[in-house]
């Protein structure tokens, strides 16, 4: 049965979590087991279906299996939606459902004491449904709907503890910031529909990602000499920038860590933030359509690469100065997403997706590990106040270390190494500019450095607070997902090694695999290994060798470069910058609107009202003297007449009925005698 999952069936994958969300919404607060059970079972079945879909997709990796249908008709044109099944969809589905499943299970332990347990699972299921819908959508419109639903679920989950003002504010911030990007996506979508008359990705030759439409798009030019496809691609990329926390709009992602940790793991590390990368990968034919054009001022992918590079470096730099365990991971996410964007920009979308998949696993692992630490340490998140957790939290430490090494790119054994390597090679091969490669290499050092710092501060040394001393290992519902994720964080890398790039081949729709020996890129690989070693070594030298003694002790970097560290801690002042510019402008606009409202519009209305009152007074004077007299006389007459007539209204139903009967007889007689026949 599983083998027979086809494009017409993939809608079941998001439908089941949606059903679970519905059940969760209807479950009373005491129905914890029901809500959690429904969510987990639904996602597990979705996972099985995804595996079936993967089998179907891999049978013919080059094909884009679609199932389109008309949603509703608008006059002549029908709005059509559809489901898509290709290796990209299938891999993403398997990843999302599997990671999601583990995180759901983890949540049953992590959220166990929360009063709104059922609501949490309802939201989680809603998120999973929206995310899966986004993945299987074969229409930009459907993708956009799910995109917004994902945003909604993210907002709800960040603000899950809405009684905390920071959480509520973070939720709002995330929602509004991503909305800025979504506006671009919406505009791009509208433009796309205007230009091609369809929003379906693949539609047997008529879809927007197929040759006909792309040809039409690259043939037109718009302001500044840009090809229409470039403009639309950039607008769509705006959406990706917002959702994936890329450079100008990255500010919401670290704040989103106010949500419960499983949420951070699922949404803001593994899946949702990857949606931007996925979006760009999905519309990759559109993004690359302008590459053959020469003489255009800008290619869309150049922008992508630039943004990716900036973000990758920026995230890594800021992460060095943070002290909140989840914030560090959040900035590392920003940085890694930058890597993915960079990979997309330099033309290797398979490397980006490869990194997306591996990153999803080890970042989920890291976040869940952090969740386990936080849970164990009674919601203490500051690494300066932790320390020495290596011993009490054995499983957590082991798995967290695996995740850290995967993220840092420790060679050969860990998946992160292979996917990062793929990106570096792609950047190396980019002919436009060498800068991304340098940025990426710098990022490698920084990543290794701050991850070493994180592990050293958290797990080594001595406990530096009351709570850290009394930490205890988390329950099995939390550790088992960690172990599973750790295993995958190792194994997944071997699907895409340069020697046997199975994943890449399948994603590109090839069935044969062209491996090449490791020696081909040995130079670059050697360099990156050296850089990783450098980063780890520096981190260990600064933080591991002489561990922090007290929570309040100054950071080694702070001691050496206080200003730099302070700037890093303040996240390079992006929030303040936005508050000073965007915030100030919008405040001014609001004040202006207020003034206009109060003085100009109100004044006018007040004047008109006065005028009306005056007219009323005049009218009344005329009324009472002239018109009323006439009416009085008329009313008196009517009253008398009615009085007289009311004597016929006896209230006796019989009388009425009698009159009706007699009237009827009269009428028929008149008609008959009057020749009405």
């Amino acid at each position: 049965m599983l083998m027979s999952v086809t494009a017409a069936h993939v809608w079941l994958i998001p439908a089941l979590p949606l059903l679970a969300a519905g059940i969760g919404a209807l479950t009373p607060r005491v129905g914890r087991r029901l809500a959690a059970g429904a969510a987990i079972v639904a996602l597990a079945v979705s996972f099985l279906l995804s595996c079936g879909a993967l089998v179907t997709a891999l049978a013919d990796p080059a094909a884009h299996l679609v199932h389109n249908f008309a949603w509703f008709d608008l006059g002549d044109s029908a709005v059509r939606l559809g489901w898509l099944l290709d290796p990209l969809t299938a891999f993403m589905c398997v990843m999302v459902t599997f990671v999601g499943l583990l995180i759901f299970i983890f949540s049953t332990g992590y959220m166990h004491e929360d009063a709104n347990f059922t609501r949490f699972f309802c939201f989680l299921s809603l998120f999973a449904a929206a995310m899966l819908g986004l993945i299987v959508a074969n229409s930009l419109l459907l993708l956009f709907i799910c995109w917004e639903l994902v945003g909604l679920a993210s907002y709800l989950l960040i603000g899950f503890w809405f009684h905390k003002p920071e959480a509520a504010a973070a939720g709002k911030k995330a929602f509004i910031t991503t909305r800025i990007g979504d506006l671009g996506l919406l505009l791009g979508m509208v433009w796309l529909y205007d230009a091609t008359g369809s929003l379906l990705f693949y539609d047997g030759g008529n879809g927007v990602l197929e040759t006909n439409a792309l040809g039409a798009l690259t043939a037109q030019f718009t302001i500044g000499g840009l090809a229409v496809s470039t403009a639309i691609g950039l607008l769509i990329f705006c959406g990706a920038v917002g959702k994936s926390g890329q450079f100008p709009l990255h500010v919401w992602l670290p704040d989103a860590m106010e949500g419960p940790t499983p949420v951070s793991a699922l949404i803001h590390a593994a899946t949702m933030v990857a949606a931007g990368v996925f979006l760009v990968a999905r519309v990759y034919p559109l993004m690359t359509a302008d590459l053959p054009l020469t003489g255009v001022p800008l290619h869309a992918l150049t922008v992508v690469a630039a943004i990716g590079a900036i973000t990758a470096l920026l995230g890594a730099v800021i992460a060095v100065g943070q002290s909140d365990i989840k914030r560090i991971l959040a900035f590392s996410t920003v940085s890694q997403l930058g890597y993915m964007m960079l990979a997309l920009g330099v033309g290797s979308w398979v490397a980006a997706i490869f990194h997306l998949l591996t990153h999803a696993f080890f970042k989920a692992l890291l976040f869940l590990g952090a969740g386990s630490v936080i849970h164990a340490a009674h919601h203490e998140q500051d690494i300066r106040r932790l320390g020495g957790l290596r011993r009490p939290l054995r499983v957590t430490f082991a798995t967290f270390a695996i995740g850290m090494m995967a993220l840092a790119g420790v060679p050969f054994l860990f998946s992160g190494f292979w996917s990062k390597e793929a990106i570096l090679h792609a950047a190396h091969g980019w002919t436009v500019s060498p800068l991304p490669l340098y940025v990426a290499l710098a990022g490698v050092v920084l990543t290794a450095f701050y991850m070493t710092r994180l592990v050293a501060e958290t797990f080594f040394g001595t406990p530096r607070s009351e709570t850290a001393e009394h930490a205890h290992e988390s329950p099995a519902t939390m550790t088992v997902p960690l172990v599973v994720l750790a295993i995958f964080a190792i194994l997944l890398g071997f699907l895409g090694t340069p020697a046997w790039p199975w994943l890449q081949a399948r994603l590109e729709g090839r069935t044969e695999i062209h491996g090449h020996s490791l020696a081909d890129g040995a130079g670059l690989m050697g360099l990156s290994i050296v850089l990783v070693a450098l980063g780890i070594g520096a981190g260990w030298a600064l933080y591991g060798r002489r561990p922090r003694a007290r929570a309040a002790a100054t950071d080694p970097i702070e001691g050496r470069a206080p200003k730099l560290f302070h700037a890093l801690r303040q996240r390079l002042g992006f929030d303040e910058l936005y508050a000073a510019t965007v915030g100030r402008i919008s405040d001014g606009l609001a004040a202006l609107a207020d003034w206009l409202d109060r003085s100009v519009w109100d004044g006018t209305i007040r004047f008109l009202a006065r005028l009306g009152v005056f007219a009323g007074v005049v009218n009344r004077e005329a009324d009472e003297d002239v018109i009323n007299g006439g009416f009085d006389a008329g009313s008196e007459g009517l009253r008398r007449g009615a009085n007289a007539y009311s004597h016929a209204q006896t209230g006796d139903a019989h009388g009425y009925l009698r009159v009706v009967a007699i009237g009827f007889v009269m009428l028929v007689l008149v008609v008959m005698l009057g020749g009405g026949r």
Binding site: R658, V668, L669, M672
Partner: protein, 183 residues
Amino acid sequence: MSIAFLIIALVTLGSAAVAMSLRNLIHSALLLIASWAGIAAFYLWAGAEFVAFAQLLVYVGAVSMVVLFAVLLTRQSRVDMAIAPDALRRIVAALLAGGATLGVLFGAVVSAPLPIAASATPVTVSVRQMGQELMGTHAAALLIVGALLTVALLGAIILASTGREDPPGVAPPAVAPPTRKTS
């Protein structure tokens, strides 16, 4: 015209007429039910099977019950049963009005040049046809009737309810003292 029709008509009219003149309300109601059953028989005779059964179900099954309940719920004392002072006058007036109506109607029916069916064979309507007609052509009417019935149900309940806050059906909470109430 067949004997069957005559028998049906006579039974229907006779039971209706007797029902309208009896003093005993229950007997009246039962005779009226017989009259309604007669009308159902007429429908059957005319070939409208479905309508006949619907008539039986609705009138003999449901309306009759409502009527009997109403009769029993409004039991009258002997004083009420006494003939009202102006009864004779009203009866005479009623007979006059009814007679006049009857005469006029008879005259109209007899003298009217009524159209006759084009084909001698009667049309039969299967239940399936009726259902499709009901859901297709008359779907709007069906919806309206549904709404009407719902409103009538609610209206009847509101009219006939006594307005007590605690209906006897939910006695247990009313009987049990609040302290001992366990779920």
